[in-house]
């Protein structure tokens, strides 16, 4: 089936199985910044942005992306360099496997309008990190929220 959507700002027309997972389709396009962790919607390593909201690409059937505006870490890195800088400056990472998901989640935070530290925590609670203890990630996201 032909599926049209915008990916990182560019129109896309793909001939794919609509029942394929967005994660696999995106990674199949060599956009490997989107990671597979838990595969069940819990960890957030596979987070992509769909119409401004965070989505688990590991449980997202690609057919549901028809006509949507989809962003991955690769596109957001170019579109939101300050957010990347914020994670780099705060060292919001160690092994880095969760990092693209954390950043895509942070980029989508306006979708829920989280602004207080408690709201930021509640919102970011869906993105697990096993390495950092979260403090540097929180600082990076809070900076981003404060600037926006």
């Amino acid at each position: 089936m032909n599926i049209n959507f915008t990916l990182n700002g560019k129109g896309m027309e793909l001939d794919v199985d609509p029942m394929a997972l967005a994660l696999d389709v995106i990674r199949g396009l060599s956009l490997t910044g989107t990671k597979e962790g838990c595969g069940v919607g819990v960890c957030g390593a596979c987070t992509i942005m769909v119409n401004g909201s965070p989505v688990s690409s590991c449980i997202c059937l690609v057919g549901t992306l028809v006509d949507k505006d989809v962003w991955t870490i690769e596109g957001l890195a170019e579109k939101m360099p300050e957010l990347i800088d914020s994670f780099v400056e705060h060292e919001g990472m160690q092994c880095g496997i969760c990092t693209p998901g954390q950043i895509v989640a942070a980029a989508s935070i306006d979708s829920v309008g989280a602004s207080s530290p408690e709201e930021v925590k509640k919102y970011m609670a869906g993105n697990l990190c096993r390495c950092t203890g979260y403090q540097t990630i929180l600082s990076a996201v809070e900076d981003h929220v404060a600037v926006n």
């Binding site: 696999d24 990674r27 956009l31 490997t32 910044g33 989107t34 990671k35 597979e36 962790g37 838990c38 595969g39 069940v40 819990v42 960890c43 390593a45 991955t72 870490i73 690769e74 890195a77 990347i84 994670f87 780099v88 400056e89 060292e91 919001g92 990472m93 160690q94 092994c95 880095g96 496997i97 969760c98 990092t99 693209p100 950043i103 925590k121 509640k122 970011m124 609670a125 869906g126 993105n127 697990l128 990190c129 096993r130 390495c131 950092t132 203890g133 979260y134 403090q135 540097t136 990630i137 929180l138």
Partner: protein, 701 residues
């Protein structure tokens, strides 16, 4: 001021390539059919349906493997690549499907029909020891690398003791107060977010290239060359980035299987575990049951102690890398204290559970939970108090520890006093019970491991450092850059640090035991020295360091947990964990702090939520839906106080920090719960439900 990490931009932009991101031409994918039974004989494997699935390139069983002996391991070679006759755990690999896509391979693997004849299963460590227990392995002493003999006892993987049981028992008989309690912890998983993955690419000319989520490339190379009879020079483990390790990525994992399949099919073979498969089939933390007996005299001084640990090693011993095939954290349980007569036994048994391996400070989180709970109980019951009893018994200058060593310095009392003297600015939920608990951990500084490294002249005055090991997130490569930067007076952008394949450097012992920074720093310091003396016509220096040690020393951490408990439900909120950490110099302060925070959060997870739910021979927590890891909303306030001025080791005068703060947390929390509620929880994770029922029954601290 520390400069930003070397890998930050690549990781933040998604450009960093991990093993699962590697794609080779002609690559095929593999999925494994795994045993559903903890213990059974394979009667028949019918692969005919799976073979016919479109896209399937081949279905393979143990009979097809191109090996003389179908076994591998890190030290003991007792793990089958594919099981031939007898499965010994749920998740044992029985057959492998190679297909053009991962999804086809997975779907076809489910179509393999395996007929089993069930055997009795041993699903607890206690059952394994019964005199009539089924033998999990008939002759375990015959495995390559085995440390047991026919006399060691039934179903034993490893047995280590230290001290004299008789002397310790005699000392306990003379004690005025005694504690004798048993503490248990469940099977756990490292919880790295990147599931294990690998690619093996064998060429007809006898060379093999491997990409793997493996922290010990040189060990992996050696295991592969030994299993497949390949020339080690022709086995090349390629550089990669690790998406977290925490001890779980040292074993060969699925690399032997993928290598075999690559040999058989002539294609590069890729396998990326689903997380559920990773939870089922890798090598997590041993479940433990530790009985601790401690006795004090009427001044509160410890006169003797015994710690007996029974650990569930699961179906194979092959995931433990050290010579003893044991967990030194167990034996080291009393390392911070002055105990004239101390006996410890660490017994690891085979069962039909998942095999277990190393996880961040192997054995220590279990031992610290048991020992630091016991001493706390003894302090409370004797009326001396939990802090005082530690102060009385912590080692101080000139003391000999229970293992006969005299450390350069003992800083237990100082970290304890720092952790317990921080202001409390918490809001305690109304109507909840509040309590505080402390726990302490000391870790001997591991010997400096063998490693090697090369510095090269690059373009435009650049210096390229080639290192042998993958970056696991701890920041080892950034440390290398920082040392070169200051050692050679360069700017960061004039230095490139990169991992190279195993063919390009002589050796490395692998990441682990907080040794990365240490081993590498020794090598970098040596290399910088050589570089400065390098004649202008030379382009590179290469160093190989030998195993060494800077004299017996160690590092300490003490944690204070502040908790609140809802008396109506038993719900536990850990409000704050204060970590007081013993440090010398700090090379990169942000990375250092993240080791402290990340460790504390992992200790918190072990303390209150992580559990593979192993029961009846099967882990039931098979996805992150059930295997819960702490998220940012779950975690307490993390506070750190550093005890500066310690005597470090190595050229940078550092103390290892990566395995300090994940160890005492469970005990600190349980001790705080006892303080708040009066009930003692001796089983991790500390569950609201356990507190609730214990409070209903009414308990004693």
């Amino acid at each position: 001021m520390s400069e930003r990490r070397i890998d930050a931009v690549a990781k933040a932009t998604g450009a960093a390539k991990y093993t699962a991101d590697v794609v080779l031409d002609g690559m095929a994918h593999v999925a494994v059919n795994r045993s559903d039974f903890p213990s059974a004989l394979i009667v028949k494997i019918d692969t005919s349906v799976a073979e016919k699935v479109e896209g399937v390139l081949g279905v393979f069983t143990a009979k097809d493997l191109p090996v003389a002996v179908n076994l591998y391991g890190r030290r003991v070679f007792d793990v089958p690549i594919l099981v031939n006759e007898r499965v010994r755990r749920v998740g044992d690999p029985v057959a492998a499907v190679v297909a053009t896509t991962r999804e086809i391979a997975e779907a076809a693997a489910e179509l393999i029909e395996v007929t089993y004849k069930e055997m009795p299963a041993i699903t607890t460590a206690h059952e394994a020891l019964e005199s009539n227990a089924q033998l999990i392995h008939d002759r375990p002493w015959e495995y390559k690398g085995a440390v047991v003999t026919p006399e060691t006892g039934r179903n034993i993987q490893s047995l280590e003791t230290h001290g004299s049981r008789e002397a310790a028992e005699a000392a306990l008989r003379s004690a005025v107060h005694i504690i004798d309690e048993t503490y248990t912890t469940p099977g756990d998983h490292q919880g790295y977010i990147e599931p294990q993955a690998c690619i093996a690419d064998y060429s007809a000319d006898g060379s093999l290239r491997v990409w793997a989520t493996n922290k010990s490339p040189y060990r992996l190379r050696d295991v592969l060359s030994s299993v497949f009879g390949l020339d080690p020079k022709r086995v090349e483990v390629m550089p990669t980035i690790l998406g977290g390790d925490f001890g779980g990525k040292g074993a060969p994992g699925e690399v032997p299987l993928c290598t075999a399949l690559s040999i058989l099919t002539g294609r590069p073979i890729k396998m990326v575990l689903r997380y559920s498969e990773d939870l089922l089939s890798t090598d997590g933390r041993h479940a433990s049951e530790i009985r601790v007996r401690l006795g004090i005299d009427n001044e509160g001084k410890l006169v003797g102690g015994i710690a007996e640990a029974l650990l569930d090693g699961g179906a194979y011993a092959g995931f433990k890398p050290v010579n003893t095939v044991n967990l030194h954290g167990i034996v080291d349980a009393a390392i911070a204290y002055r105990i004239p007569e101390f006996f410890v036994e660490s017994k690891i048994v085979y069962t039909n559970n998942q095999p277990k391996g190393h996880m961040r400070a192997p054995g220590s989180p279990q031992a610290a939970f048991a020992f630091e709970s016991a001493i706390d109980e003894l302090g409370r019951r004797s009326g001396i108090g939990p802090i005082k009893i530690r102060e009385i018994n912590l080692l101080s200058e000139g003391d000999v520890n229970p293992y006969g060593d005299t450390w350069l310095e003992y800083r237990g009392k100082e970290v304890l006093s720092l952790a317990t003297s921080q202001p409390n600015i918490l809001d305690i939920p109304k109507g909840w019970l509040y309590g505080e608990g402390v726990a302490l951990y000391a870790r001997s500084m591991a010997a400096v491991p063998k490693t090697s490294l090369r510095l090269l002249r690059g373009q435009g005055g650049k210096v390229i450092a080639e290192v042998p090991i993958p970056e696991n997130g701890a920041g080892g490569q950034t440390v290398v850059r920082e040392m070169i930067r200051s050692g050679l007076g360069l700017n960061s952008d004039q230095i490139e640090v990169k991992q190279v394949s195993t063919s390009l450097l002589p050796t490395d012992a692998g990441v682990g035991g907080s040794r990365v920074s240490l081993g590498v720093t020794v090598a970098v310091a040596d290399a910088i020295k050589l570089w400065k003396e390098m004649p202008p016509d030379q382009d590179a220096v290469e160093v190989t360091t030998n195993e060494g040690s800077d004299g017996p020393s160690g590092a300490y951490s003490a944690q204070l947990a502040r908790v609140a408990v809802d008396p109506a439900t038993g719900q536990l909120k850990v409000l704050e964990i204060i970590s007081a950490v013993d440090v010398a110099e700090i090379v990169n302060s942000k990375a250092h702090q993240m080791q402290i925070d990340g460790g504390t959060v992992m200790g918190f997870g072990f303390g209150v939520m992580e559990d593979l739910l192993e029961d009846a021979g099967q882990p039931w927590a098979l996805s992150m839906g059930e295997f819960k890891l702490p998220n940012v909303a779950d975690i307490p306030k993390l506070s750190t106080v550093l005890l500066h001025g310690g005597k470090g080791v190595g050229p940078n005068n550092i103390k290892a920090v990566g395995e300090l703060t994940n160890c005492p947390t469970g005990a600190a929390i349980a001790n705080a719960v006892a303080d708040a509620t009066g009930v003692r929880i001796r089983q991790l994770p500390v569950k609201a439900e356990a507190i609730y029922w214990a409070m209903k029954e009414g308990g004693t601290k």
